[in-house]
Symmetry: none
Subunit: 188 residues, 4 copies
């Protein structure tokens, strides 16, 4: 029985990666990430076989965390509008509360090395949000549009909104509301 592989260390590397990628981009050396995590250069490769591997897992984890945050405490018995607002608020709130995670996620999203599998897993994590949108657009003008298309658009709007909330925190709530209402007009 040797030293067990420590979950702490794994997540230290993940956290370090978030921080370093947020500030230096995806070109950040693995060595920098390792040092930030307080771990040796080689140890990083005990936990992640490859830099791309680390990046993929990070992508999945962040997307999942984001989805979980958005769906947390969903008031299932409320009407659909209330539920959507809840999700939308929490989604944007998560992104503005953890700007580094959000920034890292933005970088990761355009990385070619993120595999299709990773993207699928991430999308599955978002299925709760998709279902909500499915109900939200029922009987509306976009009821025949492919759901993925709507998900994409809403995603894009979230990104744009988050940018504005971060750059203009004083009016963050207002931006959040404005874009939510815009989405409602789109869908209903």
């Amino acid at each position: 029985m040797a030293r067990p592989r420590s979950e702490d260390k794994r997540s230290a590397i993940m956290s370090a990666a978030i921080h370093v990628i947020a500030s230096q981009g995806l070109g950040a050396p693995t060595a920098t990430i390792a040092k930030e995590a307080g771990v040796s250069n080689g140890s990083l490769f005990n936990y992640f076989g490859t830099k791309a591997d680390l990046l993929n897992q990070l992508y999945i984890e962040l997307k999942s965390e984001m989805a979980a945050a958005a769906l947390d405490g969903l008031p299932s018995e409320d009407d659909i509008r209330r539920q959507m607002l809840h999700v939308w608020s929490q989604w944007l709130s998560w992104a503005t509360s953890f700007p580094e995670k959000r920034r890292a996620l933005t970088h990761l999203g355009v990385l070619d090395d993120i595999t299709v599998e990773s993207r699928q897993i991430a999308n599955n994590a978002l299925s709760g949000i998709s279902k909500l949108l499915e109900r939200g657009r029922e009987n509306g003008p976009m009821c025949n549009t492919p759901l993925e298309f709507i998900v994409s658009i809403v995603n894009a709007m979230a990104d744009a909104t988050i940018d504005f909330m971060i750059n203009d925190p004083a009016n963050a709530d207002k931006h959040c509301t404005v874009s939510f209402d815009a989405i409602r007009r789109m869908l209903t």
Copy 2:
């Protein structure tokens, strides 16, 4: 450096960069771009002092071209809805007609090396579109929202729509219309 003798060569490098970046991403070596342009490795640095320099100029040029394409033949005497539809169609049409340019632009958009000046210049090129949106949202529910916010959102929707048009060309026109109508509902 950066003292172009032949405009032909400069644009050959630009074109090569689009092609190479579209297929290999921003990590593509300058040497590859130079070769694709039929120009020597060193020559590239006579036209662009730095790789970042080349990338910035490319970013500006592509954004400008996109804006020009969108505004080309604008029916100024038509009503605002007509004009917006015209711009929207041309915009998406440009992106789907030149997928490499669009892809390169997507890559460039997230690059840290794109300076604020470059982004401003690019935004200026988009001012024609902004003005149209300004008129388009007049008296509507978003009349008090910062215009840039609306530009951002519309931009994001364009990106999302383009992705769908490229992946599902058979229904490209429908996607174009659907998202245009969605924007109209948002703004009016």
Copy 3:
């Protein structure tokens, strides 16, 4: 370190090393050898203080096994020619029967890390063969040549012959005989 508890494990490592080195060469990681032996990475260093140490012991063991195989069942009362043929046949037979051992031995033979002591020990193991050669060249044209020189040459011829036997198994016996006769002509 190098304090074996179980002889089984030691020889499992040795066998694994033969297999791994034969297929991957001397650059093979100790971890690979350990895994192949069904032993932990660290355990290997309980049995052999160093990779070089393992390699040296393996070298000695293989050379000794080869010599033992060659001399096994030596018909001591037969005439010298018969005895030499016996040894020669068994030698080559061992090499072709255990191609991995032979291949590993070839790799090890050129390794700088094999110490002079190891080489001497290995040579001692070959003394039975040397003695036979000593008698075999008596009164012949090479009776005044340093015995080691003759041993070297015969060794080299064995290597060359083995290569041919392995590559052309159909004629293995013929190659064996041909080279034996050649040696006889050299020595008598």
Copy 4:
């Protein structure tokens, strides 16, 4: 017109490689070779795409040089014995005169990265010697043995002899003669 790729530099790298490999083995870092050649780390890769590439070219060059040395000044009108002795002497003389080249060649010979093409090219360079052996074994006891087998054996004997000549230079000539006579007995 840029600085032309210099043949001098290429051969400086080759020479450095010989020296470094002879003393450190094939594990020698390319950086060491480059430094020894008075060339930058990266420059080495302008001349040789890969370490394996360098090693292959070195192998071919050394084998060819060895063959050329052996065949240099061949007395074509002399009888076959004389010619063979000439070749044999020059061969061994080259090896003992350039011990580093010979040592490097020994290392290279067992390297897995040497391609079959390289080995073929090298063998072609040795064809002059093969032809001589072909004539030398005519009508002798090995006239029906595959020629390559004989080449192999002679090669192996050369190696063994060279070792002895280097370790016991005082008797180098004697060793040369002794093994030549041994070969003659083998073949005739």
